[in-house]
């Protein structure tokens, strides 16, 4: 048992260490881009966003993609994960930053 305890302590220490550096795309905070599946009715879309306390900021032209404002404190990756797991959602992604030249 002592061995197991030591291993758990080491595990806790390892988890607290920083993850390895990773390519980090930058994106706009507080918003995500979301597209519902075409068969999802508008009321269902609104209800889902209400439940998540998200609001539609704008529709991106005729693409059907919504720019959605997140509730205060909700991180973009969390929002993307939550929305992407919903069967009504075709895709959700951060509003990535883009570079010229």
């Amino acid at each position: 048992m002592r061995l197991l305890g030591l291993a758990m302590a080491a595990l806790a220490l390892a988890m607290s260490s920083a993850p390895p550096p990773e390519e980090a795309p930058s994106f706009a905070e507080g918003v995500v881009l979301l597209k519902f599946r075409v068969e999802v009715p508008a009321e269902r879309q609104a209800a889902l966003l209400d439940a998540e306390m998200m609001t539609v900021e704008k529709t991106l032209g005729g693409t059907g993609v919504l720019k959605v404002r997140l509730p205060r404190g909700m991180a973009v990756p969390d929002a993307v994960r939550r929305l992407s797991s919903r069967p009504e959602v075709e895709f959700a992604e951060p509003d990535y930053q883009v570079r010229t030249r």
Binding site: E22, P25, G61, V65, S84, F91
Partner: protein, 751 residues
Amino acid sequence: MTRWLRIPLLTISFLLVLLLAAGPLPAASREVPPPDQVLVKYRAGATEGERARARGNGRLKKRIRLLGVECLRPGGGETVAQAVARLSRDPAVEYAEPDYRVVRCGIPRQATDDPRFTSQWYLDSEPILTTIGGTAQYLFDVDMDAPEGWALLSRAYAETTRVVGVLDSGLGAAGVFSAAAGGYLPNLEDAPRSVLWSNPGETANGLDDDGNALVDDLNGWDFYQGDNAPADEPDDGHGTAVAGLVGAATANGLGMASPGYPLSGGGSRIRLLPLRWWSSISEITEGIAYATEMKQGGAPIVALNGSFAIAPQGLESLTLKEAIRSAGVEDILFVASAGNYDGPTGDFPQADNDLKPLYPASYSTTMPHVLAVAAVNSGAALANFSHYGERSVQLAGPGQAVLSLGPLDGQYENWDGTSFSSPLAAGVAALVMGQAPALAPSTAIRRLTQGGVFQKSYLGRLKSARRLNLAGALSPFYPYSGLAYLGSAIPLRLYDDPLSASFGAAVTGSSRQPEVAVFKDTGSGYAVSPVAPGLATFALSFPDSTAGISTLKTGPWRVTALAPFWGRLAQGDTITLGVHPSCAGTLTSDAPGMAAVGSSPWTLTALRAGATAESVVHLILTRGGVVVEESGPFYIAGEPTPDGGGGGGGGCFIATAAFGGEGVEEVRTLRAFRDRVLLASAGGRALVGLYYRVSPPIADWLRGHAAARAAVRAALQPVVFSIRHPLAALLLLLSLLAGFVLLFQRRARTN
């Protein structure tokens, strides 16, 4: 042939070329002034005293060291003809000839009076003398042949105006841009012939007249600030420069020129629609959607220029993809910069987009309306910063030291980047698409690529191995230039699109280098028929043309005796080479340590790569001590190249399907692990290759089964955890093992 014979013969050939060139010149071409200088070649061993005596009163202007030739301006009342006669009699002189004024192959050219035009090497510049096998023999243009293309436009083609949407940082600094004044933009040079497109459905009245939810969108829109003045920042200027290269007012006596030569009655052939964004996908998407919807409403928008890339390389936005796809449905061509290399730790670290895609440029492989454009410099070489891709980048255009507008009135700067090659392609595409409203973007792309100028150094780097050429894109014949193996003719075909309709079917061709290739009428068509290795250009004549164009240029055609002329080999590979019997001699490799050549049969064996992962080898074919040709590039990879589908940056199919999108953090983690760890080793690459072969159908099935997706997500979570926290995962595994061992021991004791 001895050296003594070769030089006079070359001179005679050169004179013949000039005589041929001078023949079919139309009345509209410029007057060619008579020569006022003399070229003198002294005999080997002529002393400086003998040379000084021969010069007489003539003034030495320059020396061409390569050839041992001096250029003299006659003095003391001596004419050029008298000086040539006197020098030709001089025992120290091998030959003397007038410094003839060179006319560009007798091809019609349209003049322009823009004062900055002389600094725009990429539109028009003097030909460069190049050498093959150590012999100077060919004058080639690095420019886009803009005046030759404009001549076609003004004589042969329809007078139409087309709109190009410029997705960028805006147009002209604030205060300079004034939408309310009808698109007057001083640094776009010419208010009466404004190059801005005006939305006919909108008036400046504070109302949304055309019902598109934007108020007073007269000349584009700022999707960052949400207003109708898409102005550039004074310290940025990227968008202004890009817009200038698409369609700055031309032939107006002001500033610079662009592909957009004006209509005969005034007014620009290319109108600009500035769609300003500042930093994010959503703004760009709105711009694309705006142009798409305006086109649905009847606006003559033919192309969008996207001089941007999503960072880091490999990241894809489904929103942007959706928007670009929707523009394609409306037949809008999307021109994208191939990308700029910014070092191994930068955002765009893999210059080969085939190995790691860069979006949106890499949509060129999946969407027929997307054109990816690399950059070349003023020597026609790929710019050292330019991304490329044999499968994913179709074309290159001028993109280094390219003069264009600055954001302030009257400001001009030289710009570097693939950002500046793509707008030139967009401008040319707009001219092509302006000829026939129904011309699909894919047809325009075909015209731009087939109409480009072939260069062997682009082989393996660009899909077309060609660079942008305005005259070539508008030429009724294709291909405009290319690679011809000795012994097989290359057919020259008339496009079957409406642009070619005004040119007569009867064509005659004269080769500028008949010793290299000749023009053939095969009875059923026309062909370039190779004679000997080298470079050749042709003048095509249209005796029954209704287009008013009598002569067109085509070429250069590189004739080669070696097949394949270039290729891609992995370490250890051996390929068999065909050498045309008329040229069989000695074949050597310019890097014998990396690639060895064998004879009977001719072979090339890749021994190893050089200092870089992929090294370049050329083969030199000599006969009787004379270089017949230099072939290549042959790319040698140090290890077998990974399966194309397994290249970095693409989608992780199963994970993407299970987690619902590429933007999900877990997917990014898995993808980064693949790119950094798996693709770094041969075993890992093989594993990735296998995964990419088997995973797409599994991913397709998963998309339709929610429960299975949840199960895969749960199964992948420990993998993701292990990648993020490798030490913790190892300790957890050890702990579990230790737990099992303890449990097993206790049970064993109990028993």
